[in-house]
Symmetry: C2
């Protein structure tokens, strides 16, 4: 069977099957979550968080994308996953693939863009690798840390929990997908104060990512399209399906919502968009299509 018959989710499932069969006590979350969260045997306070992510020419950016923004996005994407885990990023590994003909200046600018964001976050690039590939490719692996047992993952959502998103949705092309700020402080705060029962970052769009959270939590959901916080010139439909928002989606137990609203210390808005329901209810987004952006197709 050819690969092109599969979606990204199906491929991940197919490849990771040999690994998923193994259960182990040292790993809290792994495949199927935004990040892997590991118990660290010699620490009583900290779980370690791992994430890898790659951007490729022709898929995540084009030949005309400013190279400093390519480097920035290569780091910002996995940082957004660490944000969803409530983790503080500690170290990055950067793998660059490029052809022999690419100009040195383009690569140096990509690296400089990455280094600038890393510096802003006091995150250290501690290693890397260069390989020869036909397309320009930047792959970033991150190590982070989070208070032991606190990272919510995707599977803790319960029927009745209310669904929130940070920021505005939609309209991330042509520019915002290159310049977004990963919601690290927001995610860390939500985890530190235990508001989020489940959390993920919206990379493929609510229409793809919300069903993932619901499946992991074994629940259904109901979304009110009229409540979606729309970026300028966006329809609910495009905000729901376009992806590349890099906002946080999280569920909150109803008794916590008033306190969350009262204590929320950021200028980034949060918006209640719906609620989790028993699994039998299914997925209901008021008629919006249950799909998002599939980087793989």
């Amino acid at each position: 069977m050819k690969k092109s018959f599969f979606s990204e989710d199906q491929w991940i499932e197919c490849w990771t099957a040999p690994f998923l069969r193994r259960r182990t006590s040292g790993i809290r979350y792994a495949l199927g979550h935004d990040c892997a969260v590991l118990h660290h045997s010699s620490s009583n306070q900290t779980d370690l968080v791992l994430k890898t992510d790659a951007v490729v020419e022709g898929v995540h950016f084009t030949r005309s994308t400013p190279p400093s923004l390519i480097g920035r996005k290569a780091l910002a994407r996995p940082l957004s996953d660490l944000a969803a885990a409530g983790a503080v990023p500690r170290a990055a590994l950067v793998t660059v693939g490029c052809s022999n003909s690419i100009h040195a200046r383009r690569l140096q600018k990509a690296y400089a863009g990455l280094a600038l964001l890393a510096k802003k976050l006091n995150l250290h690039v501690v290693g890397g690798e260069t390989v020869r590939t036909r397309q320009l490719l930047l792959s970033v692996s991150l190590l982070g840390a989070v208070a032991k047992g606190r990272s919510p993952g995707r599977s803790g959502g319960k029927p009745g929990h209310l669904l929130f998103v940070t920021g505005k949705l939609g309209g991330s092309w042509p520019r915002r997908h290159l310049t977004f700020n990963p919601r690290l402080a927001e995610g860390q705060w939500l985890v530190r104060h235990r508001f989020a029962s489940a959390m993920l970052d919206l990379s493929d769009g609510l229409g793809a990512d919300l069903p993932r959270m619901a499946r992991a939590s074994r629940v259904g959901f109901q979304i009110d399209p009229k409540r979606l916080p729309l970026a300028p010139k966006t329809t609910p439909r495009s905000a729901f399906t376009q992806g590349e928002d890099y906002e946080l989606l999280f569920s909150v137990p109803p008794r916590q919502v008033a306190l969350l609203r009262k204590k929320w210390p950021f200028s980034t808005p949060i918006t209640e968009i719906g609620r989790l329901l028993p699994k039998a209810h299914g997925f209901d987004a008021g008629g919006l299509p249950m799909r998002g952006y599939d980087h793989f197709r």
Copy 2:
């Protein structure tokens, strides 16, 4: 300036310049060593070790390479770096790049080969990523652990320290570069017993890797070509320059050598091949050329 004018070392230097300028107390070794070794703030016993490495079609394997061996090699290469750090591998992230046209079975077999080696080592694949690339590519990032402050790095060699290698050198093509066993137990043992003042794994060949160790340690060296432990059908020259050996090269203070020989518990041989000398002595390999395999060219 075009990239093709640079060697791999020059490129690493060029790209990493923005990161090397920053010094930080939380990092013992980073760029320029086989692995990054990080202090873990909430642990008094353990340093964390990070490494990333990639294999690409047309560079590290061909279209006719058995796919299970591609997967195996993708994991075994960075494991060899962890071996040189004396680290125990804990978790792996795997990024796969492939085109739409590649067959599912080829990829599944590559993953199965990787999973098999991981299982043998009780190493967990905790996450990954799939991207669309024209050539098949597997990138593996590893997290490992080593006793605090014990990992030798490349820079601890002193004039007078004796140089050893594990195993045999040369002749790794066409097969052994795909089937080698990373010297994890040997590296962990050497570090646990503090025999190695500096250590690295031979991926590009002695002719490239030994000068790297010498430069990092600010010393010279003298190698006796007649003492190189040769694989069958290999000349000293090809053993010195061909690369892909994945054996350990390490330096040992002279007062430790007798004890090392007496206590060495492995069937893997170790061979004394020369010694480190004051920097002014320069690099002397008895006429063998000071170069190795450059994956980048």
